[in-house]
Structures are given as structure tokens and as C-alpha cells.
């Protein structure tokens, strides 16, 4: 018996043609709701993917930028961005791997106006650059704070420990000594 693949066949074919050979996973969640995953062979394919999704009247739901630090090829491809779209009760997740060779993802705001906030947040928190973003201002964090803060934020509890123990100052001292 064959499982029936739920979703828009034309869209699945288009996204598959833009993806890597092993980057397509068609499946469902614990409740049987279809969720399909596509890993693009190049970040530049994102525009074609966005255009195809918009043509079908899909809705952008979420963009998640993340570090690939734990992956074996992390040095060559340090970041990725996963885009989740909803169309007719099916979720299409499209992932763009950001590499040293192609260090940016293109903006998808021409097709999805609501990508604006997601892209700006991805830039300021994860440090992924978005090419041709029409409104590249800070969304939440002050402009004086470096990009990619998500990986560098010091939890308040760690700072509080620093205030009542010598650990923080010893760490600063040792890093200073190391620099001389």
C-alpha cells in the first residue's frame, strides 16, 4: 500500500527541482498533517521558490535563522535559514544554507510583505545577511549592538554570578594576560 502525499503536486515538483538530491522530505506530523521539507541547492534559488509559493497563494508563517556550528561542514556553511509557508493545510518548509561562497540570502519581501520583520530579526539576532532588504533598520535591538547577538548574549544569571564571585574577573584577567 502506498502513502498518499498530500499537497500541491506542481508546487512540490518546482520546489524539488530547486533542492538538493537528498534535501526533500515529504511527510506529516504526529496528527497526520502534511509537512514537507526542501533544502535548496543554493540560497539564490529562494527567489524562485518564493515566486512559486506566492503564485499558489501560500502564506509565509515563520523564518528561522540558525547557526550550523554543530554540522561537519560548518566552516564552509556557517548558517541556514528555514522558511515555513502554509498552503491549503500543508506546510512547506524551505531551507537555504548560507555558505562562504554565497554569504547572503535574497529578500523575499517582493512576494511576501510580511517577511520584512522576519528578515530584519534574522539579521540582527543571527547575523545572516539579507540582500536587497528594503528596510534594513533594526527591529528590536539598538543599532549600537553588534549583529548576530543570539550567539553572544550573556544570561543575566551568569552576570549576577560574576557580581558575587571572582570568576568573571579572573576570566577577564586571564584573557588580558593572554593578549600580552
Amino acid at each position: 500500500m502506498f502513502d498518499v502525499i498530500k499537497g500541491n503536486t506542481a508546487l512540490i515538483n518546482t520546489l524539488t527541482s530547486l533542492s538538493t538530491k537528498d534535501g526533500v522530505k515529504l511527510g506529516s506530523d504526529n496528527y497526520g498533517n502534511a509537512q514537507h521539507w526542501f533544502e535548496l541547492s543554493s540560497p539564490s534559488h529562494l527567489t524562485a521558490a518564493a515566486a512559486a509559493l506566492k503564485d499558489m497563494s501560500a502564506r509565509l508563517s515563520l523564518i528561522s535563522g540558525y547557526s550550523r556550528a554543530s554540522e561537519p561542514d560548518a566552516e564552509e556553511a556557517p548558517f541556514a535559514a528555514c522558511y515555513n509557508f502554509v498552503l491549503d493545510s500543508v506546510i512547506y518548509s524551505v531551507t537555504a544554507i548560507v555558505t562562504k561562497k554565497e554569504p547572503q540570502v535574497p529578500t523575499i519581501t517582493p512576494w511576501f510583505a510580511n517577511a520584512d520583520w522576519h528578515e530584519r530579526e534574522m539579521m540582527e539576532l543571527v547575523g545572516i545577511q539579507v540582500a536587497h532588504q528594503p528596510n534594513p533598520n533594526r527591529l528590536f535591538l539598538d543599532a549600537s549592538i553588534d549583529q548576530g547577538m543570539l550567539s553572544r548574549l550573556v544570561p543575566l544569571s551568569v552576570m549576577m554570578n560574576g557580581a558575587c564571585t571572582k570568576d568573571l574577573w579572573e576570566h577577564i584577567l586571564s584573557s588580558k594576560e593572554g593578549s600580552h
Binding site: D29, S67, N114, W117, P155
Partner: protein, 366 residues
Amino acid sequence: MPAPKHSPATFNIPLGPVHVALEEPVYFDLQVDGEIIRGATLHSGHVHRGMENLAQHRNLIMNQTLTERVCSLCSNSHAFTYAMVVENALGIGVPERAHYLRTLTEEIKRVASHLFNLAIQAHLCGFESLFMHTMELREIFQDVKESLYGNRMNLAFNCIGGTKFDLDDECFGFLDESINKFMPAYKELMDIFETDPLICARIKGVGLLPKEDAVRLGVVGPVARGSGLAIDVRKETPYAAYGKVDFDVVVRDGCDLYARTCVRLHEVIESIRIIRQVMRDIPQGEVRTHMNKIFPAQAIARSEAPRGEVIYYIRTNHTEIPERLKWRVPSYMNWEALGVMLRDAKIADAALITNTIDPCVSCTER
């Protein structure tokens, strides 16, 4: 949302970040022409807590507690959706009774949340007795939460694999009694909100969000449904016990404050329908299964919170700490719609229009 270049705006008015009519800190720069708003620029970031970073320093169990603190009014939706995303990633099956209990809890929270929004709306209209009447009715559901779960806001009911504890017949009996007390008074309240001339004069034809703008901006929840879009995750991709209960998606095509008010008012009735069906049909059995193994995976989970679609994304590895946990709340999608709703509105209506998206700044900024 800057004012268009042809705008005749003559001066700017700052609204917020701390303002008597706004529940949380957010700053609007209103470009106005006389008493008419021509454009609005939103500046946020006042309560950014770096929660997604914190989530990447805590294990999967600890994040259950963290995510419940994203928001207060829809705290359960976060804890619930987080549990679902971990279950989806690690293939954890949830017992049938837990599905029903989770559904029941979501709807109890939805009733309380919608009533809070409606009460604030009455307050912003200057109808203080209606505000107090609505909050008094909401108190019935606050008592339900306190009696059933031990807390009035953060219920701490969900866990990965099901629920932390069971609810017995005594709990269901109390809930049933509370609903019986609530319904007659609520029907009177609905009538006031839908027909009172004072309320109608303030909310009919105000804060317009045309359907095409709602589609373009990807708005969700009652904001989308008030502009004629039948978007509801509970129907679109049923989760928990939503596929087994009968309810209607409330849609209005007025595109104004009145339409969104009617959506929330009637959604309370639908929530009560769901609660009654859950109490009638809930099966006996276990309420949770245990997490056995953590392995590299990625997953998403969605739910329909009181303000609309909540979505969680997770990437796990071989450790108990998630590599990435990201979530997007409904207010995040609905803020941009304020630019459309506020354009050509009166300054006096700015707070009322802002309230119509049921904004949650803490949720949005995390």
C-alpha cells in the same frame, strides 16, 4: 509604516512607550494632519528579553517552563505548542485523554483572554460599567483556572508527552456549574457589545483592514477573521482533540473594529461548545508518555492561540539542549496591520485601534 510621500501630515505625535491607554511599552510615531493620522511608525524593543538565546542554554524539560513565560494571557498556548514541537521532532505519541485535556485547557484560556480584550475595549470607549461587568464575568473563568490548575494565569499543565496531571469528575462538575452560571450573563453582555449605540458609534467603520491588505500582510487570528479570512489552525491542521469536536470558525467581513469584536464575542460561544463536548467525550486512560530518546531532528508545530496562529520551530541534536528553538507569535504578524488601520483614523481612536489587534508586546519581542 512611514507616511506616504504625498501625505499632508503637518506634525508628529509620539504615543508611548509608556501611555495610559497602552498595556505594554511600545512607541508609535504618529504623523498627523489636524486630528487625522496620516501615517504611523512603530518602534519596538523595550521588553526584548533574549528568550530564544535562553532556550538554547536550557534542556528540553526546562524549556517547558521558560516558554510558558513568553506571555501571560496565552501562556498555555506557548507551553502547549512547545510540547507539540518536541513531540513532533522526537516522535512522541500523546495519550488520547491528554489530547482532550489540552483542548479543554486551551479553550478555557481563550475565553478568559477574549473577555480581557473586550473589557479593555469597553474601558477605551469610556464605558466603565461595561468594563467592570466584563471583568466580573471573566472572573468566573479565572476561578475555574485557579480551581482546576491551581493558578490563574500560568497553568503549568502541559508537559512533553501529555499533561502533568489529570482532571477528575469533580473538576468537570465545577466547570460545568461555572459555565451554567456564565452563559446567561454572557448572552446579555454580547447583546450590549453588539447593539449598544455608544459602543457601536466608536467601533463601526473604524480601524478598517480590507481583505486584500489582510492577505498581503499575512495577519492571523481574529484580525484575519474580522476581514473575511477563514484562517484557523484548529480547522486547517487539527491537533490535540480539535479534529474530534464540532465547532465553527467565526468569520465576519466588516473589516472594522466591530467585525473583530463580533468575532471574539462569538468565538467565546464556540469555545464553550468545545469545552462541553470535551467534558462529554473525554476517554479514560493515561495522561502522559515519557520521552525516551533524543536524536537530531527538526520539526514545527502550530496552534491557534487566542490572538491567532502560534508556530514553533525546533532543531535537536544528540544532547538534551535544543540547537535552535524559535517561535513566532500572532501579534508579530498583526502589528504591521496597524499601519493600515490607523491611516486616516482620528487620533482619539488610536488606542482603541491598537487594542483591536489584542497586542502583546512581550510575546512579540520575546
